[in-house]
């Protein structure tokens, strides 16, 4: 069985009977128009929204496991760094909530700050960070708790192309190193193409197509042809 | 002490259970010579011979103060004016009984004779009248006066400011008000100030109206009927003695009023109100009271009916409910 398994997922406002399997260590891109249900799908996996159906992680049913125990790293669509905490404390949040000792926290954070090249931002508050800097801090915050699953909701949408490119590279490296299973929401087909092993296309709360980048590019299903060609032309 | 901030004490009955002999009572009185019967009895040690120990005496600026304090309990006995006693029972729901009278009459309207010569002058614009808080006997009398003499109620009431008797005297003296409605001994005292005169006495409004009464809690009456009898007896004796020796009575009363002045000053926030009472003033004042333990149910009923008619009470009731006289 797959690492993440969604069976017959239905949510009050959006998803209808969604079935999806994601393998361990895979990067799966989630594509779809605004309002299609991409964020909702991620919320189901993180346990942040009500749903009917079953969610399995590594064959364990997670339906009654609360968000804080699912150990899922989640970079929300607008990041939501805590405004009252500086970079260090934002990243430390999850570790402190988990009761780690201070010196261990410091060590872990120093290494991730170094890895993401944001050591110099350590003392700054979110209001003093640029969009790209916030994105990196958010990423650091969600992976420092060492989740097996990482959910990224349009993490690069507000960045200029060159910054986006460099973060994409770092992400690939991280994913390899930590053997993460990643769901990656994006509007941008080129981005999906560059990062993902497989792509799932959602429209109006339903999965319209699932396959490798190559398959989707070359053989888009009837109802999503228009979407794919629009996404490519951007 | 005599400050008001003490918590309700154990009731007399509870204490009685432990010691049959020594009955200690908490007493509330008004700071006027209306309480002369009490002051005199205490001064002449009339209580001690009967096995009654006066545990705590609280002195209030007006009957309204006694009434408000009664609602929180803590007293067994009070010497207070009839009008506040009635609404303590009716509005405050405090189960009290009137066991005797202490005097009739004893209120007066004192005016600045430079500004006011006759009653109709009270209606003039710019005239300021002071009276005690709503529900005091003087307030009751003022409303009666308006009714009896056909004075413009609207004008008078909006000229009337409320303050306690000590402050009324200060205000009259400093010219901030032109007329005051106060109980004795304040009435006589105020009339003794230069250019002030007593325009009306309460007898002119309600002849021989029941003034103050001796009040006990229903609880005391039920559990200690013999103590209540003793209280009546002491009251009667005290009044009789005072009527026989008015000069000696005046001296004791004046002395007591001056002792209590300090606490009342504190309570009324008027440290400046130096209202020293000489025994002459006390004597003159007590002359305006008819001191008698007698009290008639009809008279009390008349006051109750009048209070109901004037809106002090939400419903009238039978005077017998509140009386426990022989």
């Amino acid at each position: 069985m797959s690492y993440i398994s969604l069976e017959n997922i239905t949510t009050p406002y959006c998803l209808e009977n969604v079935n999806l399997n994601i393998e361990a260590g895979e990067i799966m891109a989630v594509l779809g128009f605004t309002g299609a249900g991409k964020s909702t799908l991620l919320n189901v996996i993180a346990g942040l929204t009500e749903y009917k159906g079953d969610v399995y992680f590594n064959q364990n049913n997670m339906n009654h496991i609360r968000t804080e125990r699912r150990n899922v790293g989640y970079l929300l669509q607008d990041i939501y760094l805590f405004p009252h905490l500086n970079t260090f404390d934002n990243i430390a949040f999850g570790l402190r909530a988990g009761g780690y000792p201070d010196d261990e926290i410091k060590e872990k954070i120093d290494s991730i700050l170094h890895l993401l090249n944001i050591t110099h931002l350590k003392k700054r508050y979110p209001k003093d960070l640029s969009g790209g800097e916030k994105q990196r801090v958010g990423l650091a915050r969600s992976i420092i708790i060492e989740p097996k699953i990482l959910l990224l909701d349009e993490p690069l949408s507000s960045l200029d192309p060159s910054t986006a490119r460099s973060i994409r590279k770092e992400l690939k490296v991280l994913q390899k190193r930590l053997n993460l299973t990643i769901l990656y929401v994006t509007h941008d087909f080129a981005e999906a193409k560059e990062l993902a092993d497989r792509i799932v296309v959602i429209t109006e709360g339903q999965i319209k197509q699932l396959g490798s980048v190559h398959d989707i590019f070359n053989l888009p299903a009837e109802e999503i042809r228009e979407f794919i060609s629009a996404a490519i032309s951007v | 002490g005599c400050s008001q901030s003490t918590a309700p004490k154990e009731s007399a009955s509870a204490q009685n259970a432990t010691s049959e002999k020594d009955i200690s009572l908490d007493v509330a009185v008004e700071y006027t010579d209306h309480a002369a019967a009490f002051y005199y009895a205490q001064g002449k040690n009339l209580f001690s011979g009967t096995g009654i120990k006066i545990n705590d005496v609280k002195v209030y600026a007006s009957g309204v103060g006694v009434a408000a304090a009664f609602t929180k309990g803590g007293f067994d006995v009070s010497y207070m004016c009839l009008v506040p006693a009635i609404f303590t029972y009716a509005n405050g729901g405090v189960p009290i009984k009137i066991i005797a009278g202490t005097h009739k009459n004893g209120y007066g309207l004192i005016v600045n004779s430079a500004k006011i010569q006759e009653l109709s002058d009270l209606e003039k614009t710019g005239i300021k009248i002071a009276n005690g808080p709503e529900g005091t006997s003087t307030d009751f009398l003022q409303k009666l006066l308006i009714e009896n003499k056909n004075i413009d109620s609207e004008k008078i009431m909006s000229n009337t400011v409320r303050m306690n008797a000590a402050k009324q005297l200060m205000a009259l003296r400093s010219g901030k008000v032109d007329a005051i409605f106060v109980p004795e001994h304040f009435a006589t005292l105020a009339a003794s100030f230069p250019s002030m005169k007593m325009l009306l006495k309460s007898t002119d409004i309600w002849p021989d109206m029941q003034g103050s009464v001796l009040v006990v809690t229903e609880e005391l009456l039920k559990n200690q009927p013999e103590t209540v009898e003793k209280l009546k007896e002491i009251n009667k004796n005290s009044i009789q003695l005072m009527n026989e020796n008015p000069q000696a009575a005046a001296e004791i009363v004046a002395q007591n009023l001056n002792i209590n002045q300090m606490m009342v000053k504190e309570e009324t926030q008027s440290p400046e109100a130096n209202l020293e009472v000489t025994s002459e003033i006390a004597a003159a004042s007590m002359n305006n009271l008819i001191m008698t333990p007698e009290i008639s149910i009809e008279e009390v009923q008349a006051v109750i009916d009048k209070m109901y008619a004037m809106g002090y009470l939400t419903k009238s009731f039978d005077a017998k409910e509140i009386m426990a006289v022989d």
Binding site: Y74, H84 | Q4
Partner: protein, 260 residues
């Protein structure tokens, strides 16, 4: 170099000029006050010098300091109790829908009642003692603080709470480390606004009911027609109130200034 010196001199002159300009009107006012007071020769309008004199003699007289201390103590106790209770109820309402639904209609009726309106009721319920001004100040602080706390908590976007939960934080941890810190600007605003109000309340209670404190001093001075004493009391009150408010402004800046 010479030019530099000239500049410095000019700057100094400017500073002097500006400061003098600032001081001039108030000095003028004080001088006018003195002259008018001296001319008027009525105790209803004492000259500045008499007010200062009165201040001096009040200071020597223990009563005055005792009054200030009494008022201050009441404000402090009532305010601490009232705002703690307000915080507590506000938090309960903020995190619990049922609590909010139950309490909100009640609070929305009781909140607009002018605090002083409670005085007659409390005089009957509590009696005239030290608990009375404290209870009044409690009410004065309680409602706005609970209301502002609730508002502050409601204004924390749900997404921050979601983010905290994905990071493994329990509800309790989230409350303390996300919701309350983020609600704190609102909470502090409530606390600060009320810190001025409680003074108004204590003054009123003392003027009316409790025979000690600055309010009582004011009333006594009124019946003694001591306008100079009244003026001293007013200035002292002004200083106390603004110090109190400034303290909360400082606290607000200190705790939330860095990140807002």
């Amino acid at each position: 170099m010479i030019e530099d010196k000239g500049d410095q001199l000019e700057m100094k002159q400017n500073i002097l000029k500006n400061n003098l300009l600032h001081l001039l009107p108030i000095t003028l006012f004080l001088v006018l006050w003195e002259i008018a007071g001296q001319t008027a020769q009525t105790p209803l309008f004492p000259p500045l010098s008499k007010v200062i004199e009165a201040f001096g003699s009040l200071l020597r007289n223990g009563m005055f300091l005792k009054g200030i201390v009494a008022s201050f103590g009441r404000v402090l106790i009532g305010y601490i109790l009232g705002s703690s209770a307000g915080l507590f109820v506000g938090i309960i309402m903020g995190v619990n829908k049922t609590a909010e639904r139950s309490l909100r209609p009640l609070i929305s009726i009781l909140f607009p009642i002018p605090t002083l309106g409670w005085l007659p009721l409390l005089m009957l319920w509590i009696g005239i003692n030290e608990a009375l001004p404290v209870a009044l100040i409690f009410i004065c602080a309680f409602f706005p603080v609970s209301y502002n706390t609730l508002t502050g908590i409601k204004e924390v976007k749900e997404e921050y709470i979601k983010a905290a939960r994905t990071l493994g934080a329990s509800s309790w941890y989230t409350l303390w480390h996300v919701i309350l810190p983020m609600a704190s600007p609102n909470i502090f605003t409530g606390l600060r606004l009320e810190s001025g109000m409680v003074w108004r309340t204590v003054i009123a209670a003392e003027m009316f009911a409790i025979p000690t404190g600055i309010g009582a001093l004011l009333m006594n001075a009124e019946s003694l027609i001591r306008v100079d004493v009244i003026m001293v009391c007013l200035v002292v009150l002004s200083i106390m109130c603004s110090t109190f408010e400034r303290f909360f402004l400082w606290l607000e800046r200190r705790t939330t200034g860095a990140w807002r």
